[in-house]
Symmetry: C2
Subunit: 224 residues, 2 copies
């Protein structure tokens, strides 16, 4: 299967396709047309066709896309068949929420352990995962060949923890600290997650809607 260079926008849409295809498979849908898929996802049929054409020749004109194999293909492009060894650093409210709400295993990640400095957490389990002391971090990463670290520590600790992880040879970090980790030239892949972005986007769309409503003249009493 041909794989062209996939644009960042398409990559960001892949998880949405994955969720939708899972939902369709659950409902027993075998094939779906680009038009129907687009309607369900708020995209145009041509955008859908364009996105999937990045993966090669997929689906047959007039027959739609095969749900299960398209799902497999998207998952494979996302590396979900690789079972990346993952650790969580920081087991506060946010770290706990991440461990509890994201099903790492069924999404192709292997969440091995969590780390914290809080003595009351060390030796316990969170969402079934053992919590170790930060002083064990280095040895653990070396021993278990960890690929990805999810950081959910406080802002103050973020850069120090990130530097430690980089020194230990971590390849990729999912950063929930809401601050820059200062790893730009380290070679570590960093995905910054900012909750605030969603609030801002919502605020933008609400503001645009309110502005439109303010512009729309109130119905005149002469009109029915």
């Amino acid at each position: 299967m041909k794989k062209g260079r996939i644009s960042n926008n398409v990559i960001r849409r892949l998880p949405k396709y994955l969720r939708k295809l899972d939902e369709l498979a659950e409902k027993g849908v075998d094939r779906i047309s680009s038009g129907e898929l687009g309607m369900q996802m708020g995209l145009t049929a041509s955008q859908i066709r364009q996105d999937f054409s990045c993966f090669g020749e997929f689906g047959q004109q007039g027959y739609g896309y095969p749900v299960k194999s398209l799902r497999q293909e998207v998952a494979s492009i996302l590396g979900m068949n690789r079972g990346y060894a993952t650790i969580l650093v920081g087991v506060g409210n946010l770290g706990r929420a991440l461990a509890e709400n994201f099903d790492f295993r069924s999404n192709g990640f292997t969440l091995l352990a969590a780390f914290d400095i809080n003595p009351s957490l060390i030796g316990k389990r969170v969402a079934g995962i053992p919590v170790y002391s930060m002083s064990d971090l280095k040895d653990f990463i070396k021993l278990c060949k960890v690929d990805i670290a999810v950081i959910a520590v406080s802002k103050d600790a973020a850069r120090h923890v990130a530097a430690q992880l980089s020194d230990c040879g971590i390849r990729a970090i999912c950063n929930f600290t809401n601050t820059d980790l200062g790893l730009r030239d380290s070679g570590v892949l960093v995905e910054d997650v900012h909750f605030s972005d969603s609030f801002y986007a919502l605020s933008y769309y609400l503001t645009e809607r309110l502005k439109r409503e303010e512009l729309e003249p109130a119905p005149s009493s002469l009109e029915k």
Copy 2:
């Protein structure tokens, strides 16, 4: 100031500009060129110029962008000067993490109250915000003219809570339940936040990097 139709991609970049402009203002930077701003943000100078041109004539050729007034303009476009009345529904680990980690007030939102069904939380405060019973939700929304609800309840409760909020006249929902709220035709603006998207994107980029490394031949022993 001219305001053209702003594309979704630009809107999604606005929060990133906001954070960067805040950082620059903190460092005492008054003006910044598109080239320098681009370098700091991993964008091209022409992308920066194109993005800002959506807001009208901003910055002067050869003089760069004025940091403070550009920051104000971006904040205003995002509706951050509107002080939207906001509530949080669901005060588990995730809801608590949101209330504690996102500074609603300094970001232009007014977080009025939180709601939960857990009797041990009702009457308490979380991040300084009072927690009320879900049975008070309807009256509260009516009385306080709430604009935005942030939902962080369990998946099972998500649709029911969303329908309640829609019935109460909420205009916009920030959805952290990781499930579809079923409000497509309700007129309520919904921003779905999926943590998993960040994990997937990181997994994709890591996979691409590993594939590239696998393709690169190991250095031959004949080469120095």
